[in-house]
């Protein structure tokens, strides 16, 4: 498929100088200003920033749910012009359909993309097993815990084999205990699947723990104000967070965010 298209980029995701302005009745709101970033294939990249920094807008742009007002986005060599099957997504809430069983829920993308479900069933079983949901295929979402529902949502995002997985604060609605468990599981699922993953979060430690690279964004208008690389060996454990590298990085990112918010607030006064 990619051979038929002119390769625009070698990266799994490339955001090129993107800006986004929302027009309202009385003012233009600048959500993103000249955002550029690249994500390599198989990489785990987190985007952190204060609320209202345009993280979720950026995700909606990558998914093709909204259109950029400047610049461009390339996913797996294809310029994003609208929704595509190149990207899978996980939202804050699992958004499972209550009238479908877990199996039918994770198969939903195949229904929509009209992909042969019989051929994909073996792969889906494998994904469910990987997510620890084997044996729950015939259950309904309301019979599962919040953490299990979110894992089903992750399987659903992977089922059509997208080239990139976008996650928008996927654990924000979970309690602290479940959140820790599922964070470890996400690391494992990512390592086993070898997918490119873009993880949007407002938790610095979650970003540091999970990511190969952390991109820091400023408050509105959203800009990239810092980038950190975390080469700590995997699989990582929570005790590793106490190590000088990891804890130091958390501190550095926090400083970076604080500085950008000061600069940002000055900018608005001018």
């Amino acid at each position: 498929m990619s051979t038929q298209h002119f390769p625009v980029s070698q990266h799994a995701l490339e955001v090129q100088n993107v800006s986004l302005v929302y027009s309202t009745m009385d003012a233009n709101i600048e959500a993103l200003r000249n955002v550029s970033l690249k994500v390599d294939a198989g990489e785990f990249v987190s985007i952190v920033g204060p609320s209202g920094c345009g993280k979720s807008s950026l995700l909606r742009l990558v998914l093709g749910l909204e259109k950029v007002t400047g610049g461009g986005i390339v996913v797996a060599g294809h310029r994003v012009t609208g929704p595509s099957k190149q990207a899978g997504c996980v939202f804050q809430a699992p958004v499972l359909l209550p009238w479908r069983t877990i199996w039918d829920n994770v198969m939903l993308p195949l229904d929509i993309l009209k992909i042969d479900k019989v051929a994909a069933s073996e792969r889906t079983s494998g994904l469910l097993e990987m997510a620890g949901l084997k044996g729950f295929e015939k259950r309904y979402p309301y019979e599962l815990s919040g953490g299990m529902q979110q894992r089903a949502a992750i399987v659903r995002a992977l089922v059509h084999d997208p080239s990139i997985l976008m996650m928008d604060e996927p654990f924000a609605a979970l309690d602290a205990m479940t959140r820790e468990t599922i964070t470890l599981e996400l690391q494992r699922i990512w390592m086993e699947s070898g997918k490119t993953l873009v993880f949007i979060t407002h938790s610095i430690s979650e970003a540091v723990f999970l990511s190969d690279r952390i991109i820091v964004m400023s408050a509105r208008p959203g800009r990239v104000v810092g980038e950190f690389t975390n080469q700590f060996t995997r699989p990582r454990r929570f005790s590793d967070m106490a190590s000088p590298e990891m804890s130091g990085m958390v501190e550095d990112i926090r400083k970076c965010l604080d500085q950008s918010s000061i600069v940002g607030s000055e900018a608005t006064h001018v």
């Binding site: 998914l63 093709g64 749910l65 609208g82 929704p83 595509s84 099957k85 990207a87 997504c89 939202f91 809430a93 699992p94 958004v95 499972l96 359909l97 209550p98 009238w99 939903l108 993308p109 229904d111 929509i112 993309l113 309904y140 979402p141 309301y142 919040g146 529902q149 059509h160 609605a173």
Partner: protein, 277 residues
């Protein structure tokens, strides 16, 4: 021998404990309802006796029971009942389907709402009794005029609920389909319509009751057969016991139709009211 006895004892001691209490509970509740029902009948009977009310003014429960039995056993009631039911069910089906279809069209194409909706509301605000004679003029004394009347009457609540249900669909679920490049038709099929089902059933429940009412209104205005026709005839001959027994037939029909709908609803919308995010 002892091996055969063992499982028997085992079964007796384990399973029935909760079942017995639950079955007893249900039987107790049914018994309670029946007890009050018979108490009411008894008070009715005694009141008629004490005040010596003539049966052409207010019939005694025994007279009503006799008429009910005679009507059923002679086959007269059933013969008319099927005519009424046929009109109710076909009118309800036609009205229900058109309400559903119009609801989908109105929520999908704004132009349909702008053009059609005023007429639908106007049709609805018209009293059904007022248009019933028109229907008889246009569609005759046969079953057709009653079917049209029933369809018009039950369409509106189903339409309104379909619109409300489709509009209440969760935006995250729609975004999920949209992010995969899903079409509007797919959004309707996989998200909007299933989300709207509990609303649609609420509309169907209102619609079925309205169907029975408008069918009888239609039969009063002009018909050859049906329970409504029997009620009119019995009323003219001052056979109030028969009127009462026919009203009982209608009540039982209404209760059964509504219960059947609720049974289907529980099967189809089993997920409704259970929390999932």
């Amino acid at each position: 021998m002892s091996e055969k006895v063992m499982p028997e004892i085992f079964r007796k001691t384990t399973t029935p404990v909760w079942m017995r209490t639950r079955a007893l509970g249900i039987m107790f509740r049914i018994g309670e309802t029946l007890l009050y029902f018979f108490a009411l009948i008894l008070i009715w009977h005694i009141a008629i006796r004490i005040f010596d009310v003539q049966s052409y003014v207010f019939p005694s429960p025994l007279d009503v029971g006799r008429e009910f039995y005679n009507g059923i056993s002679s086959g007269l009631y059933l013969q008319h009942f099927w005519v009424t039911m046929a009109a109710v069910l076909s009118g309800f089906t036609i009205g229900g389907l058109s309400g559903l279809l119009l609801g989908i069209l109105i929520t999908t194409f704004p132009i349909v709402e702008r053009v059609l909706y005023p007429y639908i509301v106007a049709l609805q605000t018209m009293p059904k009794v007022a248009i019933a004679p028109l229907m008889v003029v246009w569609f005759g004394f046969g079953i057709q005029s009653k079917i049209v009347l029933v369809a018009i009457a039950c369409m509106f609540p189903i339409l309104i609920n379909t619109i409300a249900g489709i509009r209440a669909s969760d935006s995250d679920r729609i975004a999920l389909v949209r992010a995969l490049g899903g079409s509007e038709w797919q959004i309707l099929r996989y998200i909007r319509l299933p989300s709207a089902l509990p609303y649609i059933f609420a509309g169907l429940n209102t619609g079925i009751v309205l169907s029975v009412i408008s069918e009888i209104v239609g039969e009063f205005v002009g018909a050859r057969m049906g329970i409504g026709v029997l009620i009119l005839q019995a009323n003219f001959s001052l056979n109030l016991a028969r009127v009462f027994s026919l009203i009982a037939v209608l009540s039982i029909t209404g209760i059964l139709l509504s219960a059947a709908l609720r049974f289907i609803e529980r099967r189809v919308c089993f997920w409704s009211g259970k929390s999932t995010r």
